[in-house]
Symmetry: C2
Subunit: 334 residues, 2 copies
């Protein structure tokens, strides 16, 4: 499959795609797009409690689905005959990784090693796109960070995600697996679990604004982030199936970055919330793994594959708010 | 404990040291030195088959020993009251890591996470020195490599060792653990398992020379390595207990590097072997994870802690040969 300027110009008829974590935030948005593009889609998701997966995210779609860990032998059947594996399964909570380090290592590293071994056995010629995270960098002295920046993760999640990403690269180099890994920035948009406080700040900000509640910002709100709308990430995942991306790691972030205060204000404006923000002291479990500001240099991915983010945050926030108003169960899911 | 110019100037009376992997190559050499310095020494070693551990390496020494994985709950008792943990346990074979990736991740990453959790619970104020490896760097464009070089491991062993190292740094930063990790170069010397072909080239070269057999060199022998005598590594481990090293990662390599051809020739000379060397094609399982030349920039460790290697390879090779002539069981151990 070649990039053709965005999903709307592509068709994926006769392409079989496996999406791991396909009932989660990112995965389910990808599944919706893949189905719309005509692909045959197979989904595996462990539906780990309090993580992002929810079967309602893909309700009504004509996909084959399996509720299982990606490390489970049953995944072999799903992989048989696949053309592309979008490997998005994982645990994303930084704070949870510090409470249960072994679970994070299992979900983000060990299970991925098992999946890669299954792929080697069942479908060694498959194309693999893996979702990594900018969290692998940790605190960075020089921003925006590019891919030559040494990774110094500050929490177990960053360690485990980096190991998972590097396993994909080892299999690419040593075993000829056509794998790519994308270090994704903070993502927002439809189909995100809003009811957890442990999945990053964006779903919390969105939930508070939708409920007209005060948004609490840790510290002074001056930290910067480049936030990606999930549609841009779906486009990046499709773009990463291009031949030039084989065996490569890419940063994927937004062209624009803002302070947390600005981000909160734009979400409040989108939701027409007048509850505003409150600046509070850092909770200890967040502060000890805080990375300060982070902004992403995605030039390598832009230059080699032609992708760049297209959604302005203010527009994306409005679209996101509209989605959740139309799907209110996200505000009460458990 | 402060560095005092080498172990010979230190005493460790009333200091309780736990050495994980303490029956292995590096661990047992450290244990011999710690005992000589007057420390109370406790050893844990899983004695994994075909790895470096052998109870004979510490036979006759007055140490408390436990045969167990460092991830086992029984280690808690050994850690209780410890002042320093030298965390050297792990799997070192690059090729074995590609045959059984899950075992390598278990031994070099997951079990270390378990150990760190046990340490947090039992002895959070303990000093920890962890043995990492230059293998985390993988193939490097600019040599000698310093610590700012991005780590791009080429095999599962490099991935898993890097994750284990980074876990120590996360616990240092987030939990205040006084941990240091040393990225060690290729090590040779007494008490190394000579009968395996999977523990690096140095024990194979030494075995062949001792048995007056031809040394086979993969490729043309032009690859460079900086080889460390194990006594220099023991000195580095003791040095790394200095206060300035807390929360830090250091490269630890030799001031001198040589080609594999030169290294083989010096070992042959030390053993008075006239069988010579033969250049052979790379075996596929080695070639696919080959890193080319590697040399270590250890300036950070030298400048901040005052350590540098002191053993010339030709001298170290002679001392090593003498040791194995006096302890011939190393040539037939299984």
């Amino acid at each position: 499959m070649q990039r053709g300027g965005g999903p709307e110009q592509q068709t994926l008829g006769a392409t079989t795609c496996v999406v791991t974590g396909g009932m989660g935030f990112l995965g389910s948005n990808l599944v919706h797009t893949l189905v719309a593009l005509g692909a045959e889609v197979r989904v595996v998701d462990a539906l780990v409690s309090s993580h992002g997966g929810d079967v309602r995210n893909i309700a009504g779609l004509p996909v084959q689905s399996l509720v299982a860990s990606i490390g489970d032998p049953s995944v072999a059947e799903l992989l048989d005959g696949a053309d592309i594996v979008f490997n998005l399964a994982g645990q994303v909570s930084h704070t949870a990784s510090m409470v249960d380090p072994l679970l994070d290592l299992q979900l983000n590293t060990v299970d991925h090693a098992k999946l890669l071994e299954t792929i080697r056995r069942v479908c060694p010629g498959v194309r693999v796109v893996h979702a990594s995270t900018r969290q692998v960098y940790g605190r960075v002295a020089q921003l925006p960070a590019d891919e030559s920046t040494a990774a110094n993760p500050v929490d177990v999640n960053g360690v485990a995600k980096l190991a998972g990403e590097q396993l994909h690269m080892v299999y690419a180099q040593a075993h000829g697996l056509a794998a790519t890994s994308l270090r994704l920035s903070n993502i927002y948009g439809p189909r995100q679990r809003l009811t957890s406080n442990e999945l990053g700040f964006l779903p919390v900000f969105v939930r508070k604004a939708l409920q007209n509640e005060v948004i609490e910002i840790f510290g002074d709100g001056s930290q910067r982030r480049d936030c990606l709308h999930v549609d841009d990430v779906v486009d990046a995942l499709l773009t990463a199936t291009g031949d030039a991306a084989v065996g490569r790691i890419y940063n994927v972030g937004s062209r624009n970055d803002n302070t947390l205060s600005e981000i909160a204000a734009m979400i409040c404006a989108a939701a027409e919330s007048d509850a505003g923000v409150r600046y509070v002291q850092w909770p200890a479990d967040h502060q000890r793994i805080d990375i300060g500001s982070f902004t992403t240099n995605s030039h390598r991915f832009s230059e080699e594959l032609g992708w760049s983010s297209s959604t302005e945050f203010a527009d994306g926030a409005k679209q996101t708010v509209r989605f959740y108003r139309e799907h209110p169960w996200y505000l009460s899911s458990t």
